[in-house]
């Protein structure tokens, strides 16, 4: 048994700032707590029955019983906490926005949760289970989904957590700062072995990460296995060629899409996912409802690979990938 630690390790760029908020609030809390408790103990002692304390309510001390000055007191202890609460709210909301804004140029890793394990896939296709290897100093973006019920992905040392939902993508990012090994926990109760749905996060220097990535069991790179799926599932028949029946998918990611009902949206992972699984939900303007529903026909992990493949397709005309 190791000695007790009272604070968790800080191993990501946000950990320090999050803890600062926590300690700040802790300080304020201790101040309030001590003020009230000291007052209670002092009154308990001074005004205990039989003590000789002055209990007359006169002059200076009348503020405690007269309603007029009592009101001032009431207003004070209403307004002071109110202002403090609002200030702390702004601080925490601002940090939250900062912590959850996806950084650009992040390295993308796919995570699939299932009862009771975490399946991880790196950009080059390398897979691991209940382990996550990441380099320091690079923002890492996790795109996560679940094959069954809700899970939640939590790395205490990085101060990151996000629920992992079935039929949906959720995302989370971090930038690890310290090499070492850290815990990965599932924090949404998911049945029998919920408490065993844990893993190890290994943070390495970028060089060692590259070496690790190139090591033995590299699978087929994510995008190229995506290409295989794209052919196998017949997507090619409608989405490629000179006169395709469906819209061109190259470059669609990150672009604005006009829908049949006249609205527009920016194609993100969630939209592409929905277009594949349930194409009739959001129809692209100018196309007939030809596309088959792939719901329940594509496994979660394949779906992720496919989405990633579509993201990687570049628009031939201007060669951009958003």
């Amino acid at each position: 048994m190791s000695e007790i630690a009272f604070t968790p390790e800080q191993a990501s760029t946000i950990a320090g700032r999050m803890d600062f908020l926590f300690y700040g609030w802790l300080g304020l809390s201790i101040f309030f707590f001590v003020a009230v408790v000291v007052a209670i103990i002092y009154f308990s002692f001074k005004y205990r029955k039989g003590s000789k304390a002055d209990r007359r309510i006169t002059g200076e001390t009348e503020f405690m019983t007269l309603s007029i000055t009592g009101t001032t007191l009431e207003l004070t202890w209403t307004i002071v906490p109110l202002i403090m609460a609002i200030l702390v709210f702004f601080w925490s909301a601002w940090l939250y926005v900062d912590f959850t804004q996806m950084p650009s140029g992040a390295m993308e890793v796919l995570v699939t949760g299932k009862q009771w394990m975490w399946k991880i896939q790196h950009p080059n296709g390398k897979r691991e289970i209940n382990e996550l290897h990441v380099p320091t100093g690079v923002p890492i973006k996790l795109t996560m989904t679940s094959e069954d019920t809700i899970h939640s992905f939590f790395i205490p040392a990085f101060r990151v957590k996000k629920d992992v939902l079935p039929n949906r993508f959720s995302q989370l990012w971090f930038n690890a700062t310290k090499e070492g090994e850290y815990h990965l926990f599932c924090t949404e109760y998911c049945g029998t072995d919920h408490s065993r749905m844990i893993g190890k996060v290994t943070v390495m220097s970028p060089e060692r990460y590259q070496a690790w990535l190139a090591g033995a069991d590299t699978g087929v790179a994510m995008a190229s296995s995506g290409e295989k799926l794209f052919t196998k599932l017949g997507c090619v028949t409608c989405h490629t060629g000179t006169t395709p029946r469906g819209p061109k998918l190259a470059g669609v990611f990150g672009k604005e899409v006009k829908l049949a009902d006249g609205s527009t949206l920016v194609a993100d992972e969630e939209y592409i996912r929905e277009s594949i699984m349930n194409s009739s939900a959001k129809m692209v303007q100018g196309y007939p409802p030809l596309m088959p529903l792939f719901k329940n026909q594509i496994k979660e992990q394949d779906l992720m690979t496919l989405v990633n493949y579509i993201k990687s397709l570049k628009d031939e005309k201007n060669g951009t990938k958003s």
Binding site: A39, F43, S44, L73, W91, D148, E188, H194
Partner: protein, 552 residues
Amino acid sequence: MSSITLTPDIAPAVMPKSHYANVRTTVMSWLFTVDHKRIAILYLISITVFFAVGGLFASLIRIELLTPKGDFMTGDTYNKVFTLHGVIMIFFFLIPSVPATLGNFALPIMIGAKDLAFPKINLLSWWLYMLGGVLAVVVLLRGGLETGWTFYPPYSTTFATSQVTIAILAAFLAGFSSIFTGLNFIVTVHKMRAPGMTWFRMPLFVWAHYATSIIQILGTPVVAITLVLVAIERVWGVGIFNPQIGGDPILFQHLFWFYSHPAVYVMILPGMGVVSEVIPCFSRKRIFGYEFIAFSSMAIAIIGFLVWGHHLYVSTQSTYAGMVFSLLTFLVAVPSAIKVFNWTATMYKGEITFEAPMIYALGFIGLFLVGGLTGLVLASMANDIHFHDTYFVVAHFHYVMVGGMVMAYMCGLHFWWPKMTGRMYPGLLATIAAILVFVGFNFTFFPQFILGFLGMPRRYHSYVEEFQILNIMSTMGASVLGLGYGMQPFYLLWSLFKGEPAGDNPWRAKGLEWQVPSPPPTFNFPDGRPVVIEDPYAYTIDVKEADSVAQH
């Protein structure tokens, strides 16, 4: 710390010959009584049994967590144990605890009424509760429940293999019993106050129950119907919450917390009401800031309905929605702070004694403060990313619900016990129990804050080794806590037979309920309706006081 002394200026008290509890003694006369006081006793007995069962499950949890390996029971068993602990403690103990027992008993007398507005609905409420309770036992006997008390789908609708549907029915019935209690209180407070009992002469206990009742009747139907939807999806496969069949699991979380956050105020407001009665009485001082305490109860009840999304910060809820919920959660803390400051100010220049109820009340303030302040850590969006679903949350809500509500319930029980039974319990034992509860509680739950900060998730049957020492501390504390709770039935039951007669008003309290005999007669006021001329906090520091309330 003094033990109980009877008021010096009255002759040795004697029990009244005839009172509500002995007018009729058959079992049927109890099971089908419409007397609010007898129904309160029925509730008291039933919730005590459930508290014991829930406590038993808690001790199983603490034993399992002594070691990191998860070797005392299987994962499945553990999941059932913590689920049943939660379901029983919340639906069958905490929610009815103060309102259905102490509220039921004292509220009508406190406002000078001879009963609640709808005595038969009151009885129905208890029967529904018992029906729900019996179903909960059926769940237990048929293999338990492993969804967590929160019933989150799609786990509960698609993956759980246990008695989910029956458990939902049990919670549904308990919910309606709670709605009926709330309904009864609201109508009673509006319609049955004695002459002179103006709104601002009502005891704060009554105000707190009024606010609670609003939550009960507006919130409970929502959770009841939500749970029914879970059952519908589970039994007939209708896609409501499971995304695989077209549902939305986050929708459930919104609906569930729309009730279940306000429900935590159902589990704390009545406790605050108790404390607002006890502090002035044992300080011999008028309550400080009466209107502020009364209105803060209402503010909590109303704003409390608008904060549920603070349970969804990491569930893909939009950032802006999260911000609104976060701000409102910060705001709802202010009325609670106001109460704490007013209770403290009440003690100033008082003449304070430390009988058991007062010890519980002071313990309540300290523990509730910790619970409330740590609640704001969770209200803060940035921090909640880390603390959500860790032991920090577990510690926080136990500080509020056990450190707060259970302490307050015991405070009220010891305060009104002489009124309910006509007899006094041994003061020294009660004081010792109160101190054990306070100390044991802190040892149990304080380490859990640290565990949560370190990252230990809740609902974990096994855990990583570095969390062990704190878990051992927690289990040791729980033993002390259990000892404190365990003492109570013994000396309280003993007092029923051997306790000294308490007299009408052993605490020299000012509320109307203390102006009637202990135990009170069936219709509370034998000499007809009282006329109220003063508020219930007309305490003065002089020992000899006249009754503040003119009866007849």
